[in-house]
């Protein structure tokens, strides 16, 4: 059971790390692009949400699996 908990921690933690850096770069580029051409800001914002959805995908899969391990498998092991 201890190893399962470490697995959950790694899944959520490393996923969060990647997502945080990715979103930071994405948001920074959006701000830069909006500052250079303010008339494009709405279109850039829509495209940012699309890329944000893609960026979220793999960490979210990790979180989903981690939640499953934490609340369904671990009580079975204990």
């Amino acid at each position: 059971m201890g190893l399962a908990l470490i697995a959950v921690a790694l899944l959520i933690g490393l996923g969060a790390l990647g997502t945080a850096i990715g979103f930071a770069i994405l948001g920074g580029k959006l701000l830069e692009g909006s500052a250079r051409q303010p008339e494009l800001a709405p279109m850039l914002q829509v495209k940012m949400f699309i890329v944000a959805g893609l960026l979220d995908a793999v960490p979210m899969v990790g979180v989903g699996i981690a939640m499953y391990i934490l609340f369904v498998t671990v009580p079975g092991l204990a």
């Binding site: 949400f49 699309i50 959805g53 979220d56 995908a57 979210m60 899969v61 979180v63 699996i65 009580p75």
Partner: protein, 314 residues
Amino acid sequence: MAADGNASTTTEYIQHHLTNWTFGKLPAGTYCDGKSVQETTSWVVAKCPQQMEAMGFSAIHIDSMLWSIGLGIVFLAIFYRCAKKAHTGVPTGMLNLIEIIVEFVDNTVKDSFQYRSRFVAPLALTIFVWVFMMNLMDLMPVDVIPHLATLVAGDPGFYFKIVPTTDPNVTLGMGFTVFFLMIAFSVRQKGLIGFIKELTLHPFRPPTKGVAIILAPVIIAINLILEVVTLLARPVSLGLRLFGNMYAGEMIFILIATMFGAGLLLGLFAGVLQIGWALFHIIIITLQAFVFMVLTIVYMAMAFHNDEEDQFTN
């Protein structure tokens, strides 16, 4: 659900709310928690996780099917009635809302899909509204409908989940449907030979003259591996992205709901937390439906896109 007649523990509560109403063929001799045994092989509703595991492929999640098909019928009914009442004047009320949604989907399709097809825009509309409606069930408080279901069924251990998109079967089913549509449209647009050429000749161009032709099968094999992995990643990522987001969201709702059993003060605090998380979850719901739709449109556009028609490739 109850351990020995007492109220269920936190773990049991959480696990109960994460289990689907499963119906399937249970082979004889299956134990449930080491207590009851299935006498003969028959089609029954599963009472515990061991039974669900024993059912294998024959298991079907009735609650997911009911809610997804039911919400689909509601979606079709609403849009059909509004389509009947559509007129050329200024729209009001429900008609206005439906027109806003249709116009939004139309603009999104026009942005990403530059080819002619009568199929893609209705597909995008269906995906967006249907996924949004299924996700919207997540905003209903955790215990309301499942508790009503246990009262109707008369069984306190009755499993009933109301959000179909927290079931990976539903989301992966939609993802693989988009995948098969992609392949069907690719083959129709480019022909079977063109489709196979696209898989084997991109991204590395195999040499066709000279001594290097001996390397051509190696390069084709490398191309095939890369392209097949990319191709398979699409439906899997579509399905799992939606599932992961919705499952994690519902999990947090359930975790906050476990605080309701801990006294009045913590119960009120949990109520405030539920409202806060629900407000944040509204944006996740809409965003995930939107991303599913946009990716479907983009994959359809890639299925229609013919590389040889690009002007500037050699």
